[in-house]
Amino acid sequence: MEAAGSRVPLGAAKFVIAACARPAPVGAMHCIVLVKQVPDVSNIPEDAWDREKGTLRRGLLDSVLNPLDLHALTFAKRITAGDPDAKTVYLTMGPPQARDVLIDCLSRAGGEAVLLTDRAMGGADTVATAYSLALAIRRIETELFGGDRNYVIVSGMQSVDGDTAQVPPQLAEDLDIDQIAYAQDVHTEPELKFRRIGAAGTEDVVPKVFPVLVTVTACTDTLYAGFAAARTARSATIHTWSAADVGATADKVGIKGSRTTVYRIFSPSEDRAKQCVMVSDAADLMKQVQAKYRLATGGPAAHEEGAYHLDGKEPTYKGELWILAEREGDGIKSVSLELLGKTRELAAFLGEKVGVVLPCDVAGDLPAELIAHGADVVYAIEHPLLATFSPIPFKTAVAALVNERHPQVMLFGATPMGRELAPRIAYACDSGLTADCTKLEIGDHIKGGNALVGILKQTRPALGGNIMATIMTKDSPTQMATVRPGVFKIPPRDESRTGEIVRITPDLPTDLVEAEVTPVESFVSKVNIRDAKIIVSGGHGIRTRTDFDRLLQPLAESLGDLLGDGAKVAASRHAVEDGYRTHDYQVGQTGQTVAPKLYVAIGISGAVQHVSGMQMSDTVVAINKDPRARIFNYADFGIVGDLETVVPQLTRAAQEAK
C-alpha cells in the first residue's frame, strides 16, 4: 500500500525543526533509518568491465541494499526493541526501483517506509542529497511522528558506490543536530547510550538533545528476513514523496543542487601500472629483490605529477589555499603537515598564499611550527570550547572564517575528525567536498563553452574501489577535499621561513548542550605498520590463522635479517575478517596506507581497496595461485604458485642468501 504525498507546490511547504535544547526524553524513542540502493560491487561479473573505456557498466551490476545499511537497521532495532510505541521509518532517496530496498528492510525488521523519488533529484551529489533527505525527515517528524522530536536518525557510515561518508554529517548540519559517528553498540537501559570509536579510543556517549544522528560501523549480526516477515512486508506502508511533497526548491536538488561533478572515470590500473617480472625460482627472486632494495631511495615514492603553468591565463578561482590543521598531543598531526607540503606545491603553481587554520584553545608554538613547514599565514582560532574536538563548535568557528575570507581551496586530513568535520564545514559554506582523495592536481578543463582555469582536480576511488573518479567542484566559493594520511610527504622543516599569524576569537554559542562523553578505552596503536620498512602482508588466499602465522612471520623475520631493516606482518581486509589479525594490521582503503621499501603480498588478490593502501611501496613482490590476479599489475616481481609451497621456499632462500 502506498500513501501518496499531498499536492504541494514546489517551495511552498515548510517543515521546520526548531533547534534548541530540550529536557531528557520521555516516552518512546523512534528511529529513522537512512538506506540506499547501490550496485553490488562484491560480485562484479567479468562482462561488466568495459576494458576499452576503463569503466564499469553499472547497468550490469545487481542492485542491493548498501551493506552498512543492514547494520544500521539492525542497530535501530536494538534502539526500538521492546517498546511497542517506538516507530521505525526507513527512508531512501532514489529512482522508483529503490522501493525494493525498502521492502528488504521491512522484511527484516518491520516498520514503515518512505521513498523519496523525483526525476529532478537524480544525479545528486552529497550536498543535494543531504538537503533533500533533511526535508523528508522534517516531514516524517511532523506527519509520521506527530511532531515528536524523540528520535534517532541511524545511518550506515558510508555507501559502497560513493564511499564518501559525507551525507550523514551534511544531513546533521542541515537539521542543525549533533552526530555520533563510528557507533559500535547501543544500550537503552537506564538511558540511551552509544559506544563509539573516537579519535583517541572508544567512548560512551549519552546524547542530551534529540533528534541526534548516529552513523554505524559494521558492528552487528545483521537481521535476516524471515519468510513470514517477508510475506507481511508486501503489504506494509510505503509513502512515496516527490520533491514538491517535501517542499524542495528546484535549484537545490539533483544535478542543479550538486556542488561537485565527476568528469572522468577510469580504471584503477591506469593509475600506477608496473611491469611485473614473473619469477619461478625463489633464490633468483631473493637476489633481484636484494639488489633493488639497496638501490631504493626509501620513504614514499615521489609523485610524478607534472608542474602546472598559468601562463598568463586568468584563473577561475582567486584566493589563498588553506588546510585545516589537527592537533595531536602537543604537536600537529602528521597528515596536516603532509597536506601543508602538498598545498605549498599547488599554491606555487597559482602564485597564491598558503593558509593554515588552527582551531585550538591556546595556540602556543604551533603557528611557528606550521610556518616552518610551509604556511604563509596561520589563522589561530582560539577559544576554550575548541580545546578538544567536537563537531559543532569546530564547524561554527571554521565555517565562519571560511565564509569571511573565501579561500579558493580547503583541504582536510581524512582522519576521524576530518571525516566528521569537513562535510559539515563544506555544507555550511555551500561548497563541494570530495573525500579520500588519492591525487590532487591543478589543471584546466573545457566544459561546454566554459574554460575552467587553474582548478583543483580531485581523484579518488569509488564503487568499492573498483573505479577511480576525477571530480571538480562546481557552483562553490571554495573547492574542498579530504586526503588520507600517508598519501603525501611531510615537507622538510625550514626555520628561516617567515609568515603571518592571525589570531581570531570566534563567536561561539555558550549554551551548547553537550552530550555526556565518557572515555572507555584509549588506544595508542601498539601496532604501527606504517613505520615498517618491510611489510609481509597476507590475504584471503591463506586458509587458516595457523597458516597465516607459520607462513608469514618467518618470512618477515628472514627478510628483515637479510635486508637489515625492521619487518612487520600485515593483513588485507579479508584476512582481518577471517580473524588472522586485528584491524590495526589492516592495509588498504579502510585500514592504513603504507609505503615501505618492500611490500610482499601473499595470497592477496589486489583489489583496489587494498592496492590503494600500498601502491606507494618502492618494491612489491606478489605471490598468488591465480596468474590473473590483479595484484600482479602492481607488483615488480611475481610468483604464481601454491602459497604453502612458495612462501617457505622464499623464507629458506632469504635465510640462505644472508
Binding site: 560480485n43 567479468e46 562482462d47 549480526d221 513470514a228 517477508a230 596468474p627
Partner: protein, 527 residues
C-alpha cells in the same frame, strides 16, 4: 497475511512455469488463489544453468506473444540455422553426416537461449501475474503429516561455523500450503525426500555433469552465429559417456560446454580439466580463437529417464522438472519438459483446490503429462542412456539408434559404483584456465562463518579411497571444495557450486550435502 494455496519450491523453469499457469487457470475460472514460490538462490536464475538448444513451442502455449516482449532473454535468443555433429580424436575432427542422425536429434526449429535469462524472464512474467516470489529461502525438509504433504521446513539461519546461534538467528521456519509443488531441480533435496516417502523409480537416478563457459569476442566469433555443434569422442575415452557442445548466442558470444556421465570409471578424472582439454583441441580452439571467458558454471543433468522416475503425486504434493527427472536423453533436452510438467501440475493443483483449504486428489497430474506428450517422449527414450552405460561408446552408439525398440526396461547402476579401483586417467594439465579461476567466474559466494553444508560422514573411509580412487572427490568437484591433506579431507564449502555431483559420485556414498542457508551459491547471470 492469508495462507498459501500453492507453494512452489524452486523458481527455475519448472517452478515458474507452474506458478504462471496456476495464476492463469485460476483467473480463467474467476478465482483468486495465492501462489508463492521460494528459491534458495539470491536472485532469479542465479542457480539455473543449461546449454541450451530449446524447443520454444511450450512458451507459445504458456505466454502467447512472448517473443515480442523486450528482455535480455528474447534479445539474446537466436534461431538455429546450422548444426553439426563432430567426432573428435586428439588432433582431428570429422563431421558425422546428418543422415545418420535420427530426426529426434535434429535441431530444426530450435532456438538457442540462455536458460538463466529465460528464468529471469519467467520470474518477471510471474510477478506481473501476482505470483509471490521469495529468493533467499532454502527448503530443507518436506513436511508430511498423516501421509499428506503439508509444506516444507526451511534451513535455520544465523548460525556460526561451530553451530552456535548468532544474534540474528532464526529457527527453521515452516511454510504450509494446501498444495506443494516440488521444483527444486536435479537431485533436489526435497524432491528426493518425496520419492523416498512416496515411491522411488525402479532404477536409481543417474546424472551427467555439465561444465559450461560463456565466451565473448571483440569481433564476430570464428564459430559464427545461429549455429549448434555437438561433439563426440575426444577428450572422453570410450568408456566415458558424454559430449561437447558449442552454441551461438549472437555474433560475438558462444556458449561452450562439456557434459560427462557421472559413471566414469577414473578416480582422478577432473571434469574442469577435461573441459579445458576439450577447449584446447585444435579444432575447438580455432572456433573460439580471440574469445574471452566471461562466465562459467557447472551443474548436473538427470539422465536415468522414465525408469528413474517414481511417484509423481501424493496427497498435497507433486514433483516437476529436473527434480522429478523429466530429461529426454535422446534429444538431450529437459527445459521444455520442465515447463510442461510445471503447467500440468499447476492445472491439477488449481482444479483440486476446494473450499476452505480442502484439497482433492492430485492423480490427474499423470494424465496431464500424458496429454502433453511428455510421458510418450520419455518412454521412447527409456533405454537410451542405459545402452551407453552398458556398452560404452562403440556399442552404445549404434544401439542407441534402436534403443526404443528394446522390449524390456534396462537397469542401470548408480554412478558412484562405477568408479573402478585403481583406474586412473592421468590427464596432463592443458595449462589453460585453472580451477580457482573457473570457480571465481561462477560468482559463487557463501558466508564463511556458517556451519558447513557439506559433511564427510565417516572420515576413516577416505583413507582407503586414496589408493583405490585417488580421493576422487578432490578431482571430481568443479568447485574445488575438497582437498586431501594427507590424512583427511579438508573442506572449502564456500566454493560450492550446488552442482549436486558429490553425493552421487563418491564411491562410498560418504558425502552428505544439504543446501546452505538462502541467498548463497553461484551467481549465474547469463548461463
Amino acid at each position: 497475511m492469508d495462507g498459501i494455496d500453492i507453494l512452489i519450491v524452486g523458481a527455475g523453469p519448472a517452478g515458474l512455469g507452474a506458478a504462471i499457469r496456476a495464476k492463469q487457470v485460476a483467473k480463467e475460472a474467476g478465482r483468486e488463489i495465492s501462489v508463492a514460490v521460494i528459491d534458495k538462490a539470491p536472485a532469479p536464475g542465479n542457480h539455473v544453468l543449461s546449454g541450451a538448444a530449446f524447443e520454444p513451442a511450450v512458451l507459445d502455449d504458456l505466454l502467447p506473444g512472448w517473443r515480442d516482449v523486450r528482455h535480455s532473454f528474447t534479445d539474446t535468443m537466436v534461431p538455429v540455422e546450422r548444426e553439426d555433429m563432430m567426432f573428435l580424436r586428439s588432433k582431428s575432427a570429422n563431421r558425422i553426416p546428418e543422415k545418420i542422425l535420427p530426426a529426434r536429434m535434429h535441431h530444426t526449429g530450435d532456438v538457442i537461449i540462455s536458460a538463466t535469462r529465460m528464468t529471469q524472464f519467467l520470474a518477471e512474467q510471474a510477478d506481473k501475474l501476482g505470483v509471490e516470489i521469495y529468493h533467499g529461502y532454502t527448503a530443507r525438509t518436506l513436511v508430511v503429516e498423516d501421509g499428506a504433504v503439508k509444506g516444507v521446513r526451511l534451513a535455520e539461519v544465523g548460525l556460526r561455523a561451530d553451530g552456535s546461534p548468532k544474534g540474528n538467528h532464526i529457527a527453521a521456519e515452516e511454510i504450509r500450503a494446501a498444495v506443494t509443488i516440488l521444483a527444486d531441480g536435479v537431485n533436489g533435496v526435497v524432491s528426493r525426500q518425496f520419492s523416498s516417502q512416496f515411491g522411488d523409480g525402479a532404477n536409481p537416478q543417474v546424472l551427467s555433469l555439465g561444465m559450461k563457459a560463456i565466451v565473448q569476442f571483440p569481433e564476430a566469433s570464428p564459430f559464427g552465429n545461429n549455429r549448434v555443434m555437438h561433439t563426440l569422442g575426444y577428450p572422453m575415452t570410450p568408456s566415458t559417456f558424454g559430449g561437447g557442445f558449442l552454441y551461438s548466442l549472437g555474433e560475438k558470444t558462444v556458449a561452450v560446454g562439456l557434459i560427462l556421465g557421472l559413471d566414469w570409471k577414473y578416480g582422478d578424472l577432473n571434469p574442469q580439466r577435461e573441459f579445458e582439454t576439450f577447449r584446447a583441441h585444435p579444432y575447438i580452439s580455432r572456433l573460439l580463437k580471440g574469445g574471452i571467458t566471461v562466465a562459467t558454471g557447472a551443474k548436473t543433468i538427470p539422465e536415468g529417464g522414465i525408469a528413474s522416475i517414481g511417484a509423481l503425486s501424493a496427497p498435497g504434493g507433486m514433483i516437476v522438472g529436473d527434480g522429478a527427472g523429466f530429461v529426454n536423453m535422446e534429444k538431450i533436452k529437459g527445459l521444455h519438459y520442465a515447463i510442461r510438467s510445471g503447467m500440468g501440475a499447476a492445472e491439477t493443483a488449481v482444479a483440486a483446490l476446494g473450499e476452505n483449504g480442502a484439497v482433492g486428489p492430485l492423480d490427474a497430474y499423470r494424465e496431464k503429462l500424458e496429454a502433453a506428450g511428455v510421458l510418450k517422449d520419455m518412454r521412447h527414450a527409456r533405454n537410451y542412456r542405459q545402452v551407453f552405460a552398458k556398452g560404452g561408446l562403440f556399442v552404445g552408439t549404434p544401439l542407441s539408434l534402436v534403443s526404443a525398440a528394446i522390449p524390456k526396461q534396462l537397469g542401470i547402476h548408480r554412478d558412484g559404483a562405477a568408479t573402478k579401483k585403481g583406474a586412473r586417467l592421468d590427464r596432463p594439465d592443458p595449462g589453460r584456465m585453472d580451477g580457482a579461476t573457473f570457480v571465481a567466474l561462477t560468482g559463487t559466494i557463501h558466508r564463511e562463518d556458517e556451519p558447513s553444508h557439506i559433511t564427510i560422514k565417516d572420515p576413516a573411509t577416505c583413507v582407503s579411497c586414496e589408493a583405490d580412487f585417488a580421493n576422487s572427490c578432490t578431482h571430481f568437484c568443479p568447485g574445488q571444495v575438497y582437498r586431501w591433506d594427507g590424512a583427511k579431507i579438508v573442506l572449502s564449502p564456500s566454493n560450492c557450486l550446488h552442482c549436486m555431483t558429490c553425493t552421487v559420485k563418491c564411491p562410498a556414498l560418504n558425502i552428505d550435502w544439504v543446501p546452505p542457508e538462502g541467498g548463497e551459491g553461484p551467481h549465474y547471470k547469463q548461463l
